[in-house]
Amino acid sequence: MNLKRAFRVWQRHLTVYTKLYKSSIALNFVEPALYLAALGLGLGAFVKEINGVPYIQFIAPGIIASSSMFAAIYECTYSTYVRMTFQKTFDAILATPINLNDLVAGELMWGATKSLLYGTIIIMVISLFGLVQSPLIILVIPLLFITGLIFAEISVMFTAIIPGIDSFNYFYTLFMTPMFLFSGIFFPLDNLPPVVSKIAFFTPLYHLVNICRGLSFGNLQCCIWDIVWITVVVILLAPYPFRLMQRRIIK
């Protein structure tokens, strides 16, 4: 894999994105704002506080994590699949000096970039609404690239093995949504059966939520092990998107 050639793929995605981004970014505000309003204010009127923190401030940092996750997953499932299968963009690119490993690396880096971008936008939005307690939240930004890579890796792995675009329903319903609901964004997992926390430990979103919430409250120590977790996992998963894509595309 050659990083410069991978960058060319990333550049192509950026070029297309800058043509289409306006509607995309605007919409990316709306859903998190709805969650904050409906749950933060609506449910927050009943729940009041969790762990001594007003409910809306409890969930706001989690929304950074979830927006970041959705960005990487949608890019590296749906968009990657469309490029690969319907538009045949991959075929076009592979006729140039770009090889498949460069292309996969470019897809992963682009997914991670979108993850970083959309997570950062949420950081800005919730900071503007005074829902962030500490400037340490800035440290989340580079970490969003790492978790973005993890979500991208998992997504590309899945994209490489599915027979048809409908298969993504399994991915969204059985993996993404449970992870979203049981990652500690909306409620701590302590009061649920211990098996839930044990499973959550193995999901990237759980750790990203801890990191976002910890840094939002200025507490770096509490999320050191989460940072270690994401660093280890992003490296462990790295070979698999390449291997699976090779198997799918180059016969």
Partner: protein, 245 residues
């Protein structure tokens, strides 16, 4: 000088043998055609030459470089016109060329200049800012031809370059290809149109079920076996070249 050398090359997908131990040498500056119906293995040969996938066995070199060892170096000097349209629907005609040029590390200024030249060459200058979906089938093929030339390739690989085009567009593409031939670009194409092979090719490889039946110039083949290439094909393989509808 051999631009492409294929020695005892086989490509198998599990139990299916798509290309069966073929041998073929393609000279610089010639227009070489692979003639045969769908399923004969022509596209597979094209994809292996353009380093899209490796052969199962045998040796394939382009510019004396092995396709499995130096794919990027080879692809930098090759232009590919695929059978299917794989243009970027989110980009304009002009942008498609610029973005493609970037994969070859061609700088913005050079790319812009080159794109302008190529659009003139294929007669799409006024369509530079058009969306891909606004183009007719013939225009899309011409754009794909233009795109395949962005890196000034020494070798141009064309997979069914005029399939699906009306006769006027077809002749237009042939005219462009002959122009490139005159500039000493090596052309390799696949086709199941015998007229195309007769008009363009210096030599053709007749392919049937993954094997090369014979390699000869169209004129010689027609001289030996009589009639047009359609009849030559029928004589040599016992099969009809044109697709049965």
């Amino acid at each position: 000088m051999n631009i492409v050398s294929i020695k005892n090359m086989t490509k198998a997908y599990g139990s299916l043998t798509a290309v069966d131990a073929i041998d073929c040498q393609i000279q610089q500056g010639e227009c070489f055609g692979f003639l045969g119906p769908n399923g004969a293995g022509k596209t597979t040969v094209m994809r292996i030459i353009s380093c899209f996938m490796p052969p199962t066995s045998g040796e394939v070199t382009v510019f004396a470089l092995n396709v499995t060892e130096k794919p990027s170096a080879i692809k930098a000097r090759v232009g590919v016109m695929p059978q299917e349209d794989n243009l970027d629907p989110d980009l304009t005609v002009f942008e498609n060329l610029i973005v493609y040029a970037r994969y070859f590390d061609i700088g913005k200024q050079d790319a812009t200049h080159r794109a302008g030249e190529l659009l003139s060459f294929v007669g799409l200058k006024e369509k530079a800012d058009a969306k891909i979906e606004q183009l007719s089938g013939g225009m899309k093929r011409r754009l794909i031809l233009a795109r395949s030339l962005v890196n000034n390739p020494e070798l141009l690989v064309l997979d069914e370059p005029t399939t699906g085009l009306d006769p006027h567009s077809r002749r237009s593409v042939w005219e462009k290809l002959n122009h490139l031939k005159a500039q000493n670009t090596t052309l390799i194409l696949t086709t199941h149109y015998m007229e195309e092979a007769e008009v363009l090719c210096d030599r053709v490889a007749i392919m049937d079920m993954g094997k090369i039946v014979t390699i000869e110039s169209p004129q010689k083949l027609m001289g030996i076996h009589g009639g047009n290439l359609e009849e030559v094909y029928l004589k040599l393989t016992g099969k009809v070249l044109k697709e049965q509808l």
